[in-house]
């Protein structure tokens, strides 16, 4: 294998909110390379700029300055809809609050990204069931979020994120609302997806235990990357 280009590359990325006297610079010049297949945990106190950076990495927001290349695309030059198409094709999202559609079955939730891809009914159902199967909830496909436990809801959310076979999975405190046992289950699932499906995982977390599942841990502080270190788990793969 030749040395691959990083899937994500940030160069001097800044993000400023507001203008003039009330302007606030949340990210002050971040350089970051993430290789395909990595499992990265992002840590740091609130206000450290990690959430803002994650939003930029998720193509939900654009940097004020600097360069963000995602699979070679200059994301900072893309408009709203172009970024949406990028998210649709390459990204999966898992949120702390699960963010499933209420009164909607697990399968319908999982199928949602496929709808936007324009897949037909049969493909949607097949891919949706496959994704649910991967998270161990195939038997629960017709249950609504209200009928599922927190851990199950998060697994449905993960199924929704991976149903499109994304390159990168962005998880924002995926275990924040779960007890430690469920949290470990979710982390095992993410680890498995990273290893077997080769999905690059970017995860924000406050908990060291969870961060330890990752290969690389990036610490944010005052709008900058404070330090990056490998956990040693990456070599095992």
């Amino acid at each position: 294998m030749s040395a691959p280009d990083p899937i994500i590359a940030l160069r001097g990325v800044t993000k400023t909110f507001g203008q003039g006297a009330t302007a606030f610079q949340a990210v002050k010049g971040v350089d970051l390379d993430i290789m395909a297949g990595d499992f990265v945990a992002v840590m740091g106190p609130s206000g450290s700029g990690k959430s803002t950076t994650m939003n930029i990495l998720g193509c939900l927001d654009v940097p004020t300055g600097g360069e963000f290349r995602f699979k070679g695309h200059h994301v900072e030059r893309l408009d709203r809809d172009q970024r949406a198409l990028l998210r649709r094709r390459y990204l999966g999202f898992v949120f702390q609050g699960f963010n499933l559609l209420a009164r909607t079955t697990a399968l319908e939730n999982v199928e949602l990204p496929l709808l936007y891809r324009g897949e037909d009914k049969k493909t949607r159902a097949d891919m949706g069931m496959a994704a649910l199967d991967k998270v161990g909830l195939a038997d629960w496909w017709d249950h609504t979020p209200a009928e599922l436990s927190g851990g199950q809801q998060q697994r449905v959310a993960i199924a929704r994120a991976i149903v499109t076979q994304p390159d990168v999975l962005l998880a924002d405190e995926p275990t924040g609302n779960l007890d430690s046992e469920r949290s470990v289950e979710i982390m095992d699932l993410l680890t498995d997806l990273n290893r077997t499906a080769g999905i690059t995982v970017l995860m924000v977390t406050h908990e060291q235990d969870m961060a330890d599942f990752a290969h690389t841990i990036i610490h944010f502080k005052d709008g900058l990357v404070d330090r990056t270190h490998a956990t040693g788990r990456g070599q095992a793969a």
Binding site: N55, D61, D81, A84, R89, R103, Y116
Partner: protein, 403 residues
């Protein structure tokens, strides 16, 4: 995303919130059903008026002494017409197909134990031509019977029913006001007249018989003129008016002491009135349709706020702004169309059940049904656009954070 997918999403969303969806479209339902019911019943009323007026006979001029419908209030009563007036109209006016003088009285008809109070109408054979009134049995007067004023009569179906029940009436005799009268014919049933009167409650005799035996003079109360289709009734009416003014010695500046009215004119006037009323009621109902549209907009705006998080999820997952816009727009239009369809069904039920109560025929008007449906769809587009645009312009990060 293709439109089909958006429709699936919209239908899902409507099904998921059945009660809210129903309340949302209630305004449209009421508006559409009100408009369509009003217009349908209005059209029925117009048709009913038209039919009843046509019962008076087509291209007919009615000439009566006095002004207006009655014989005038105070002052000297204008004189009735004379037989010579009838002859003058028949011979001097071009385009007259038939002229039927009428003298009327009323009395009680008696046969065995049965008796019936009715109208006696004295006229000539021309009357049946002018009225285009067919016989159900027997024959009309012969010229000889007319000239002699024989006591022969033709009965309306109401009189037949009351005097003869199931028996054959033609050839029988009965008494009316002490006059023994022979039945030579019976008339086809006509039903209710333009003014709610029973046209079949009548005994028709030669005018001379009525004048001699009942009214006691040779006065003619009413002249019915049937105008040839090839001629303009207005022209004939003007010529008749001029002739009668001369014959009744009315000088230049004075008003007529008689009136001529054209049944077609009444028909037009009455039809115009019902049409205006229909339009007016329809317009009032259309306002409620507009209010219904505003109702949809309100609920959709609330819905956008309520579903901010959902919109955030969709945007994060990769929906582009136009897809979110389309989803909400399609949802509004689908709701409005659903309201329109329910409204049309309600209108159909209401019109079918109300038409007999109001004694108007039920006439299904495809045009107004389609118009109301498309208008409700249009309302969905117009009032759904603003909320949809609002949903589409949400920032995904803020939307996801929304509680």
């Amino acid at each position: 995303m293709i439109l089909g997918t958006t429709i699936i999403l919209a239908v899902r969303e409507i099904r998921r919130h059945l009660l809210r969806s129903f309340l949302t479209i209630l305004g449209i339902v009421i508006g559409v059903s009100a408009v369509v019911t009003m217009v349908t019943l209005g059209n029925g009323a117009t048709a009913a008026v038209k039919q009843q007026i046509s019962g008076l006979g087509a291209n007919i001029l009615q000439i009566r002494p006095g002004q207006g419908f009655g014989r005038g209030g105070g002052g000297p009563q204008p004189p009735d017409f004379k037989p010579a007036d009838v002859d003058a109209i028949r011979t001097q006016i071009a385009g007259v197909k038939a002229v039927a003088p009428q003298a009327s009285s009323s009395g009680i008809a008696v046969r065995n134990a049965a008796n019936w109070s009715t109208t006696i109408n004295g006229t000539t054979a021309d009357y049946f031509t002018a009225q285009d009134w067919k016989l159900s049995a027997g024959r009309i007067f012969t010229p000889a019977e007319e000239q002699a004023g024989r006591a022969v009569c033709i009965l309306g179906s109401t009189v037949v029913t009351n005097l003869f029940r199931q028996e054959e009436a033609v050839g029988q005799r009965f008494r009316i006001k002490d006059v023994s009268c022979q039945v030579i014919g019976t008339l086809a049933t006509r039903g209710q007249g333009g003014f709610g009167n029973d046209q079949d409650d009548v005994v028709i005799m030669p005018i001379k018989a009525v004048q001699r035996r009942f009214t006691g003079n040779r006065d003619i109360r009413n002249i019915m003129v049937s105008v040839d289709e090839a001629y303009d009734t207005g022209t004939v009416q003007a010529a008749t008016q001029k002739l009668l003014r001369e014959r009744r010695n009315i000088s230049g500046g004075k008003d007529d002491d008689f009136n001529i009215f054209d049944t077609k004119q009444i028909a037009d006037t009455l039809q115009g009135t019902t049409q205006i009323l229909t339009a007016l009621l329809g317009a009032v109902a259309a306002v409620s349709l507009l209010v219904g549209g505003i109702g949809i907009m309100n609920i959709m705006l609330v819905s956008v706020t309520e579903r901010t998080r959902e919109i955030g999820i969709r945007l994060a997952i990769g929906a582009v702004a136009s897809e979110v816009l389309l989803q909400f727009l399609v949802e509004a239009v689908a709701l409005a169309c659903l309201g329109g369809v329910i409204g049309l069904l309600l209108a159909l039920i209401a019109s079918v059940s109300l038409a007999p109560v109001l004694r108007v025929p039920f006439i299904f008007d495809l045009q107004i049904n389609l118009l109301a449906f498309f208008f409700s769809a249009l309302i969905g587009v117009v009032f759904g656009y603003f909320p949809a645009r609002r949903a589409a312009s949400l920032n995904p990060i803020d939307a996801l954070r929304h509680e």
